[in-house]
Symmetry: C2
Subunit: 463 residues, 2 copies
């Protein structure tokens, strides 16, 4: 019997986060304002605490993880690295498939790695209340948990359609003492205006972001800030503990570098968390195929552009240099709600532009097929987002079989699907669609991107 689980002892947990910005061959482009001027850090101070802004701007390669954050992480970290021997046997592949299991966290996904760090830094800065938005509820749940531990109030604006469809996510947030309201809500100017105009709107992530930011910046006491669960540099930084642990675990079974590294990518944080430490190796010469897997319903890397674009639908944020489908792009309603974001983290986008990563887009049917195969071999029910990564894993493992190559494939199992079984139900009853974004829709949305003269627009499409 081959070894299935590779443990890491607590004393082996990484003590520093890894910052890819320090190693990218070309320096990162800065965020800019719509007039093209470079964003100054102090402009973000109403939104984020200064210590997290510093981290966002940092070009230091290694950043110490405070002892107090490690003390929280020990609840579920180091996370297991497992070998998917049962899937390997089923596929009859000579490839060895390893995966980090981030579903073991209290909130059931990787999101908790950054929520506890963000809550801690906010607490250090004297913040007493944090606002955020959540779509399917993974991020809202993770932040609620973290705020509870810090004694910080938490208010989550949850997209109304999810609020109504996934009441159990709200229960989890309440369990950890957070307030969760359906967005649009009557609690903000933005919410009230939209409710007046469209009383029956199902809401959107864009609206929820607007409400959460307005709530944070309008607190006159200065003790409220906003938190984001992906996209930004400091969020990706906090996730690198995943890849750093994986490296130590692979070393225990004699693997220095895997041949292929795979993660699903919505805003990019779970993928980056696993992939960045290996991207560093690749920059220094290692031969690794690093694959961010997006949803074919929201194919910003494979069919979008690398451009300056807004992070939110309403255009309230600075312009970020990233792969985007245009900030007003409305993806088809795939069950992988976490992959329905129009943009990609600037750090991941830059790495893609540099040729360090090779994006792949999986459609909803191949993803759920993969998830079913996973549940019937490995036994675990994965999140719809994660299923996109597994679709790519299976594709690569089959390719390795057909080519007779003993490749090592590593991927991130970003979360479990126990609160997302509705999508499985639909797949099993034959009512699920592939849901690929229509060409026309993408063309129309890309045409709306504000093209700032200062932003070097580089079309992707090397692959």
């Amino acid at each position: 019997m081959d070894q299935v689980k590779i443990n890491l002892e607590e004393h082996e947990i990484p003590k520093q986060w890894y910052n890819l910005a320090a190693d990218l061959p070309t320096p990162m482009l800065p965020p800019v304002l719509p007039d093209g001027t470079v964003l100054q850090p102090q402009m973000l101070e109403a939104v984020f605490p200064r210590n997290l802004i510093d981290q966002e701007m940092s070009r230091e390669r290694w950043i110490d993880i405070p002892e107090e954050i490690l003390d929280i992480l020990y609840r579920w970290r180091p996370a297991p690295l497992r070998r998917a021997v049962y899937l390997e046997r089923y596929l009859k592949t000579p490839a060895r498939i390893y995966y980090k299991d981030e579903s073991v966290s209290p909130s059931g996904s990787h999101k908790t790695n950054t929520s506890v760090a963000q809550a801690w830094y906010n607490k250090q800065f004297g913040i007493r209340r944090i606002t955020t938005e959540t779509g399917a509820g993974q991020w809202g749940t993770a932040l609620s948990f973290a705020c509870h531990l810090m004694g910080i109030e938490c208010k989550v604006y949850m997209v109304r359609v999810s609020f109504d469809q996934k009441p159990m996510r709200k229960t989890l947030m309440n369990l950890w003492g957070a307030q969760c309201v359906a967005s649009p809500s009557p609690d903000t100017h933005a919410g009230r205006a939209i409710l007046k105009e469209m009383p029956d709107t199902p809401g959107s992530l864009g609206i929820a972001i607007s409400e959460a930011i307005e709530d944070a910046v309008s607190d006159k006491s200065g003790r409220t800030r906003y938190a984001l669960g992906s996209v930004l540099n400091h969020v990706l930084l906090h996730q690198t503990v995943i890849g750093l642990e994986a490296k130590k675990q692979l070393a225990k079974v004699g693997i220095k570098t895997p041949d292929i590294v795979i993660g699903c990518a919505g805003g990019g944080s779970n993928f980056a968390g696993l992939a960045f430490p290996f991207t560093q190796d690749k920059i220094h010469g290692a031969k690794i195929d690093i694959i961010p897997v997006e949803s074919a319903a929201c194919p910003k890397m494979t069919r979008g552009e690398f451009a300056y674009d807004y992070g939110d639908v309403a255009g309230m944020t600075p312009l970020l240099p990233m792969h985007t489908l245009g900030h007003k792009f409305v993806p088809l309603p795939v069950h992988a709600g976490g992959l329905r974001y129009h943009g990609m983290a600037p750090l991941v986008s830059q790495a893609v532009v540099e040729g360090l990563m090779r994006p792949y887009a999986a459609n909803q049917v191949e993803s759920f097929e993969a998830a079913i195969t996973w549940a019937r071999t490995e036994g675990f029910v994965i999140a719809p987002e994660t299923s996109n990564a597994v679709a790519c894993v299976i594709k690569e493992a089959v390719k390795a079989r057909d080519e007779g190559k003993e490749k090592v494939i590593l991927f991130n199992l970003s979360g479990h699907g126990l609160l997302d079984l509705h999508g499985y139900e639909k797949y099993l009853s034959g009512n699920l669609e592939a849901s690929c974004a229509p060409d026309e829709e993408i063309r129309r949305s890309l045409a709306q991107i504000v093209r700032t003269p200062e932003a070097p627009l580089r079309r992707t499409g090397r692959w």
Copy 2:
């Protein structure tokens, strides 16, 4: 920082199950028929495969775990042993609280330990189809998974009220290829008769058992058998891997025997799995307080009798020597559905009678309070059943604090509560009741127990 997680490597997994029947000071009483004659093994052959009947009757102390079963268990075993340092700090207790985490299995509870073993033995015996009943769905899910791996057909009769209220459990069963029908169903004589009489009945575990057994024994090909998820000796045997692992893990942090061992007890299997290996030590002189925690809604050990009684409501099974409230007892509808069983496993009952165990009954409100405290300190959402064990853990840890004693408490986290969040929702909104069984109800039910002259009736009540 104290060590939170104690890993066990794969090669350290126990290779044998432990059979407490070999060590009990007084030999076990046999199952009997209503006329008082002792049940002969062959009488069970229409219901269970011969190899499992042999295991049921065995008095061997150690029984080898087949290599093929270990190969399945490696998906999630060895399971982690963790120390609840965050709860300890919150309670300011000098007690050290350790727990086995059985929620990490594919189906989310300890049930999978026996479902894979039972499916494997059925397969060895040439069985092609297994029927069973399920209440809340944990057992049906676990058996579906196991049957899928063995290529055995599986049909689950699910109590109708749960079938309607917990559709996601059915999705899980379908995902693993099982057929799940609401019970009473039109598929059996028993089901049709009840539907004719009470078309709107919410169903009961008793009815579902009747349907599943009828289905199994009426297959003329002889290739269908029935499977049970708790109570019987062989089921408890398969769970002892939990306690045997825990022993090895405690030894790694220098603990030979814990002072207190706790598990929730419905039919008794998760409790027995953890407790039996320590009960062996206690028989040989170790000083351990071993506590099965039942629901105050179904207090068979603390307020029932030790007597011969039927295992099912309809009276189809042989009479088992056990703690019971009477086989027609209808417990209040607590969310801990797995604890709503009128009887207790004969092996556990006998150990209680011998004074080796000290039962405790937790009410629903103290249990959910404990579950909320657990989620807000340790971070994980536990099953309503498990919350009864945690209520007792907290009580003992507080007592250790008040007495200034550095006790070691070990308990079994039998399952997660991610598919049972409805109970949490009710608790948080203040709509949950303590749900203790009324005296009058218990008296009435106990009066109905058939008192076989051959059965030595011993009233419990040493505590």
